[in-house]
């Protein structure tokens, strides 16, 4: 299993330390070890991805679910969605949300990471521990908690906004419904997602900061460099690889955000759909399921994410992470 066979087979008289570690001969072993995983991933991930491609050119509805063969419809699904302003509205929601949420997450997360690095050891561990709690909260619960915080009756946020002077925030917050318009729904979603995602950015940045040699900062201080300057000429370039990875991961996560929006806004509230909720609702949202249409929408989302993933893989390969 561990490929120790060559060492055993070696004749006893031969000095094994006399030469470099034998280059491990490619044989069946490793392939057998990864075979089950490859099978699982092929069946549960790659095949379904291909199916999305196939189904997006088909009509798959109730009759097909009962066992009738799928009907080929050519590019009809794509013509329908691309010509539909509603589709473009969901694209707009998806992209705008991702841009805002990713920027906020990265900026706030980095600031928290820098703070953790500046704090004393015990304080840093204490704050990091608290921050971890936000990260560890299940997405379902996070969405429920924020629905409650922003709830129209008994919600803490409305109560607090009502306490603030009207000149600052306007009046009439006491029973404000945050989930009435897409804009305010996405505001709550953004707060929820950023709250959960920042910790990961923060601890990753912290790990990166710890790896930067202290002499660099020493030198910068001797040269009279201020904090702003020091950040852009030392910290940022040193952390650039990690920022790239974090950026790509955040884009991917925020593009496909689903559970939180599903719980906050639900399938009945079409105005607030993003791409993944739209795909899901087409496929499962009504008594008349349109799995082909859903697949076509899902394919658009998958394509966008594959481009981003390709960027990510390039970064990882360039950093030698897959060596």
């Amino acid at each position: 299993m561990l490929d120790t066979a060559p060492a055993v087979r070696r004749p006893p008289g031969r000095r094994s330390s006399g030469r470099a570690r034998p280059r491990r001969r490619p044989h069946l072993g490793p392939y057998l070890l990864i075979a089950p995983t490859v099978a699982v991933i092929a069946v549960l991930m790659f095949w379904p991805m291909i199916q999305i491609g196939i189904m997006s050119f088909q009509k798959v509805g109730n009759r097909q679910l009962r066992g009738e063969p799928a009907e080929q419809v050519g590019t009809e699904n794509f013509e329908k969605i691309l010509g539909d302003p509603f589709f473009w509205q969901t694209v707009k929601h998806t992209v705008l949300f991702a841009v805002v949420a990713v920027s906020l997450t990265l900026v706030v997360g980095t600031l928290v990471g820098l703070l953790l690095n500046k704090l004393g050891k015990r304080m840093s561990a204490f704050v990091a521990g608290g921050v971890m709690i936000a990260w560890a909260t299940p997405p379902v619960t996070a969405a429920i908690i924020f629905s409650w915080l922003f709830g129209s009756t008994g919600g803490l946020v409305n109560w607090a906004l009502d306490l603030l002077p009207d000149a600052l925030v306007g009046g009439g917050w006491s029973d404000h419904n945050w989930f009435a318009t897409p804009l305010s729904t996405y505001t709550v979603l953004t707060v929820c997602v950023v709250w959960q995602a920042c910790p990961f950015i923060a601890v990753s940045v912290l790990a990166g900061l710890k790896s930067i040699p202290g002499e660099l900062y020493e030198a910068a201080r001797v040269d009279g460099s201020g904090p702003w300057r020091t950040f852009w000429s030392i910290t940022y370039p040193m952390l650039k690889p990690i920022f790239l990875v974090l950026l790509v991961m955040s884009i991917i996560w925020d593009f496909k955000v689903f559970t939180q929006l599903f719980i906050m806004s639900g399938m009945a509230n079409r105005d607030a759909f993003n791409l993944s909720l739209y795909a899901y609702s087409e496929a499962f949202g009504s008594l008349n399921p349109k799995l082909g249409m859903g697949s076509a929408i899902a394919l658009v989302l998958t394509m966008i994410l594959l481009v981003v993933t390709a960027l990510y893989v390039r970064v990882m390969v360039r950093q030698g992470e897959t060596e």
Binding site: L2, T4, I34, T37, M49, Q51, A136, T137, P241, E321
Partner: protein, 284 residues
């Protein structure tokens, strides 16, 4: 050093104050959930919310744990969730351990391809896969079954588990295995007596990760399961959202019960999660 520089104390106060503020913001929503769970309804819907329950009550927990939610009890949902999570952990850990051993111990053709595949599948929008997987499970007669769902969760958990575990396997010195081999231990015996004990901490970390994946999952369970007696805890939470207003007390009590084990587990392994997720990115 600049000890005694004027303003240093002020600076320290500002830094620590900001730290406490960040801590408060991070913890507050979870605190508010737990606090609400212990409040009687009159306090939950009070026009002036209080941070802590004035008159703490266990009625919401009692309702969730002992009342009948819809047709089945909390403990059935709990059992389903736990069962799914345990099966996911066992199978995905086994797969991850074998694959991570291959990746960390052998150079073979397609090794890089395999690693890239692991990255790519972690980026796939799972929400998109729900459509084809629904049809696949249907044709295999695995819809509305915990077994079918476990299969899906294993597929989701394995790629990251391998990614995390391969570092642990690589960290075990090869000389130890070679020594065992020279002492006459076969590969299987070497695996169990040398490698396994040394990667055990990593295995715990990946297990908890797989556990959380299955425990938290919502949309696949929501889509694939029909019978109430098969529902999982995240699906159960949906029952408290009603047309005539939400039962926030029980929702918060149930959410607390769902969340606390996850947070506890997560805090155990977070350090390894971080290094698993950002592996190498820090090397510069």
């Amino acid at each position: 050093m600049t000890v005694g520089r004027p303003g240093r104390v002020v600076r320290k106060i500002i830094l620590n104050g900001t730290g406490l503020l960040v801590f408060a913001v991070a913890v507050f929503p979870v605190f508010w959930m737990a606090s609400t769970a212990f409040k009687p309804n009159t306090e939950i819907f009070s026009t002036t919310p209080k941070p802590l329950p004035l008159d703490p009550t266990l009625e919401h927990f009692d309702f969730v744990l002992n009342g009948r939610i819809a047709e089945v009890s909390f403990w059935e949902y709990f059992r389903n969730s736990a069962l799914l999570a345990v099966v996911t952990v066992l199978v995905s850990s086994l797969l991850a351990l074998t694959a991570a051993t291959a990746v960390a111990r052998f150079r073979f053709r397609f090794r890089t391809t395999f690693l890239i595949m692991l990255i790519v599948v972690q980026m796939v929008p799972l929400e998109a896969l729900v459509i084809p997987l629904f049809l696949d499970l249907k044709s295999l007669n695995l819809l509305n079954s915990l077994g079918g769902l476990a299969l899906v969760y294993i597929g989701f958990a394995v790629p990251f588990a391998i990614w995390m575990l391969r570092g642990f396997v690589a960290a075990v010195p090869r000389e130890l295995e070679e020594a065992a081999a020279i002492d006459g231990a076969g590969p299987v015996r070497t695996f169990f007596t040398v490698l396994l004990p040394l990667v055990a901490p990593g295995l715990v970390a990946t297990s908890i990760f797989s556990f959380i994946t299955a425990w938290n999952e919502f949309i696949f369970a929501y889509t694939f399961l029909n019978d109430q007696d098969k529902y999982t805890l995240p699906i159960m939470l949906q029952f408290f959202f009603g047309r005539s207003g939400n039962a926030w007390g029980p929702i918060m009590a149930a959410s607390t019960l769902l969340t606390i084990p996850v947070i506890a587990f997560f805090l155990l392994v977070q350090r390894r999660m971080v290094s698993g997720l950002t592996a190498g990115a820090v090397k510069g």
